[in-house]
């Protein structure tokens, strides 16, 4: 058992690009769920439409990279408007089911054989990230002993954490404004807000667009850091994991989603590496009849499921949250 490798894997994942994608997506979910009480289960859809908006613009239509980024973000705004108009007047679980269905529809269309010429089929699209990669100012990777990053990842994490910081700043300043207070009161009691003459529908729509935009940024960052846009990355499970990250950190807190994503990936990568090592080699720590090497990668997801249940039962506010902030209910 080499604990150095375990710690390296855990820290590298917790501070690396994957955690950043989750942080950005969870910041969007925080605006939706944490502040406004909207149950968006289709964050992966907001990500995929922005990601494929960018990828298709550059690869298939040969548009300028920066214009393509804008097209991707406009895509997620349009998606928010299309989803919001019919569902925001309904009860919370309708939005949940419509968003989850939409994100699956988008994933299936992006991965369909019939649209292979446009979206690249199940293999997705590549070859759109060169403008982004060429901006990389680093010459070497970094190895601090407990954490190591390649040259490409150094650039990815620089860009990524800057994006996270900017998004957090936006959320922080918006949520202490009168606008943010209206959002929170909508979460607590829609009718009370309506009685004060506020247009609840418009506020919910603005929140949905803002959170969707953060989701779009997450999607674009995701495909840029790995250099390929693959439809299966944007499945429903991703949204659920992003929720788990948000709830670990604490909903309705500016830094909740960020801390949550870091902890989430620290645990996922650390446990994966630990059990992977414990079951490999000639004389594994855990004997083969209890757990094989293939099974070991599942232990973390079993623990994640159990953890999410226990967290929601015993500490629904997460680590930093305020219990009063998430006293929301659908009925």
């Amino acid at each position: 058992m080499d604990f150095g490798t375990v710690i390296d894997a855990a820290f590298s994942a917790a501070l690396g690009p994957q955690a950043i994608v989750f942080a950005l997506a969870a910041i969007g979910l925080n605006v939706h769920f944490g502040y406004t009480g909207l149950l968006n289960f289709g964050q992966a859809g907001f990500m995929s439409i922005a990601a494929f908006g960018l990828a298709v613009s550059v690869v298939t239509w040969d548009i300028n990279f920066w214009l393509a980024v804008a097209i991707g973000l406009v895509g997620s705004v349009v998606l928010a408007l299309v989803l919001g108009v019919p569902t925001l007047r309904l009860r919370a679980d309708y939005l949940a089911i419509v968003t989850i269905a939409t994100s699956e529809i988008l994933r299936l269309i992006f991965g369909a054989v019939e649209f292979k010429d446009t979206f690249g089929g199940s293999n997705g699209l590549t070859g759109f990230a060169s403008t982004y990669k060429d901006l990389n100012p680093y010459n070497d990777g970094l190895d601090l002993g407990f954490v190591s990053f390649s040259r490409g990842d150094m650039w990815n994490i620089t860009v990524g954490w800057s994006l996270v910081a900017i998004c957090c700043l936006i959320v922080w300043s918006l949520m202490r404004s009168p606008w943010g207070r209206v959002l929170r009161s909508i979460r607590e009691d829609e009718d009370a807000v309506r009685s004060l003459g506020k247009n609840v529908f418009a506020y919910k729509m603005q929140a949905l667009v803002l959170g969707g935009l953060f989701g779009g940024i997450a999607g674009i960052y995701h495909i840029l850091k790995q250099g390929s846009a693959v439809p299966t990355d944007f499945n429903t499970t991703f949204t659920f994991y992003a929720y788990a990250a948000l709830l670990i950190g604490g909903a309705a807190r500016v830094l909740g989603p960020v801390v949550g994503s870091i902890i989430f990936w620290f645990l996922i990568a650390g446990l994966g590496s630990f059990f992977g090592q414990a079951t490999s080699g000639a004389d594994p720590l855990i004997p083969d009849f209890i757990m094989t090497n293939t099974q070991s990668s599942l232990i973390r997801f079993i623990m994640l499921g159990l953890g999410l249940m226990l967290l929601m039962i015993y500490r629904p506010q997460g680590i930093f949250g305020d219990r009063r902030e998430i006293a929301i209910d659908a009925r």
């Binding site: 019919p86 949940a96 269309i109 788990a244 997801f301 499921g305």
Partner: protein, 455 residues
């Protein structure tokens, strides 16, 4: 007009990949490599380590159990047809060959058509080679059939009839699960994201009793339904009832159910692995004509079992005392409690009934398709769509919604407007989900839902 070939051939190609030191499941003798044209070997042992295993079976045009085809020569090439030959074998009495491969990659299996026995012809396009990709983990078991039924120049109306039949069958399987979901949602208000895993539970327990303990599929299926009912009862007692008593919010419970789904799905994958398993009986059946439609025996059974179960359940809900109590609690739990009903007891009964129905849908799905750890997760969204479409918490709505969804999934790909297919066949779920969203736009409470439930 449809035509069938008298002799049909199905090939099952499995790439079994054994990790680490191979367990002693195959005989330890080295693989005999018979030269082409020799007599049929008694048995080709499954090679240790990574291998390509092919089983050839003759469907006999769908009459009776499929028969193995011995004495056919098969060759495995690396990368492409005509590439490096990795081995040539003649199928044994089980119709099996097993050829070792060096590692992950693309392999081509070629069948020598001249060595086929008299009267056996390849069906479908008559392809003699199949390409497979071997990789570690994930799907290490690839299965495909070389066409069980050949339809020559099927007319639009026959395609539509076939699609409608399979849509109804799919809709009925979904309806069992949707009724379970709707009952549980109606009485407890829980939007249960772990419902897909309850479907899988039925399938996996069937597989366990059937392949693990050797029960016939029918007995295993019955036991699986019982186990599902027990699982539902235990789940309510241990998890959901304490949460209700604590006053946990419905959205918090929804998120608990997401965690529970993840937990169960990972446990399934831990125990049965990531591969797709088949039950021991009723895997490949030919079809018999019933007027304009053709159904295999298992499809007839699926229709019968699901229709009878649904009808009996609905009559019971309408007529019996317990059924009335369930509907009363669903309408207004507080009023039911104050009029002397044991609400907790009723909810227990709902969980038992709901999970048993859902388990049965998993059993039927396992017989219809195959068993996989995410078989239920894959249709969860369709079940949700069915329930939402019909009207959340209504019994007839769940049934109607399921049939609409099942038909949409199967019929939409057949429809075409001047040669243009609005819903491509590879993503046929999209049509059903779009229909759900569109109906919600016009009628947010669902087809049969009550307007006061929403907003």
């Amino acid at each position: 007009m449809r035509m069938r070939l008298a002799a049909l051939l199905a090939a099952v190609v499995g790439v079994s990949i054994l990790l680490g030191p191979a367990p002693a499941l195959a005989t330890a003798t080295p693989t005999p490599t018979p030269s082409a044209g020799t007599a049929t070997p008694d048995q080709n042992p499954i090679v240790d380590g990574q291998n390509v295993t092919v089983t050839l079976k003759d469907l006999n045009g769908g009459k009776g159990e499929p028969q193995p085809v011995p004495g056919v020569e098969l060759t495995v090439y690396a990368d492409k047809k005509g590439g490096k030959v990795l081995g040539t074998q003649v199928t044994d009495k089980l119709g099996r060959v097993s050829i070792a491969i060096p590692g992950n990659g693309v392999y081509v299996v070629e069948l020598e058509p001249d060595t086929l026995p008299e009267g056996v012809k390849l069906s479908g396009a008559g392809e003699t080679d199949k390409t497979i990709t071997a990789r570690l983990g994930g799907s290490n078991f690839v299965q495909f059939q070389i066409g069980a039924v050949v339809v020559k120049a099927a007319s639009f109306s026959s395609k539509l009839t076939d699609a409608t039949t399979s849509g109804l069958k799919y809709g009925l399987i979904i309806a069992l699960a949707a009724l379970g979901l709707s009952l549980i949602f109606g009485t407890t208000g829980l939007t249960n994201f772990a419902h897909g895993e309850l479907i899988t539970f039925g399938g996996i327990v069937t597989l366990g009793f059937n392949r693990g303990l050797g029960f016939p599929v029918i007995v295993a299926g019955l036991l699986a339904v019982l186990a599902s009912a027990l699982f539902g009862f235990a789940q309510d007692r241990v998890l959901w009832r304490p949460l209700r008593n604590r006053g946990t919010g419905l959205i918090a419970m929804m998120i608990v159910s997401i965690g529970f789904a993840l937990l169960l799905r990972s446990i399934y994958q831990y125990t049965v692995g990531g591969s797709t398993e088949t039950l021991s009986q009723y895997v490949a059946q030919g079809r018999t004509d019933y007027g304009p439609i053709a159904l295999s025996d298992k499809e007839v059974a699926i229709f019968g079992i699901s229709i009878v179960t649904l009808v009996v359940t609905c009559i019971a809900l309408m007529r019996t005392r317990l059924g009335k109590a369930m509907r009363a609690v669903s309408d207004n739990p507080a009023l039911s409690a104050s009029s002397g009903m044991r609400v907790d007891g009723v909810i227990s009964a709902v969980w038992i009934l709901g999970t048993a129905l859902t388990g049965l849908s998993g059993v039927l799905l396992a017989v219809q398709q195959q068993v996989n750890f995410q078989m239920g997760f894959k249709i969860l969204l369709l079940v949700f769509a069915a329930v939402t479409l019909g009207g959340l918490g209504t019994i007839w709505g769940a049934l109607l919604g399921s049939l609409v969804i099942g038909l949409m999934v199967e019929v939409a790909p057949v429809l075409s407007i001047g040669g243009w297919h609005p819903v491509p066949a590879s993503i046929k779920d999209v049509g059903a989900l779009l229909v759900m969203i569109l109906i919600l736009l016009v009628r947010p409470q669902g087809i049969l839902g009550k307007a006061q439930r929403i907003g």
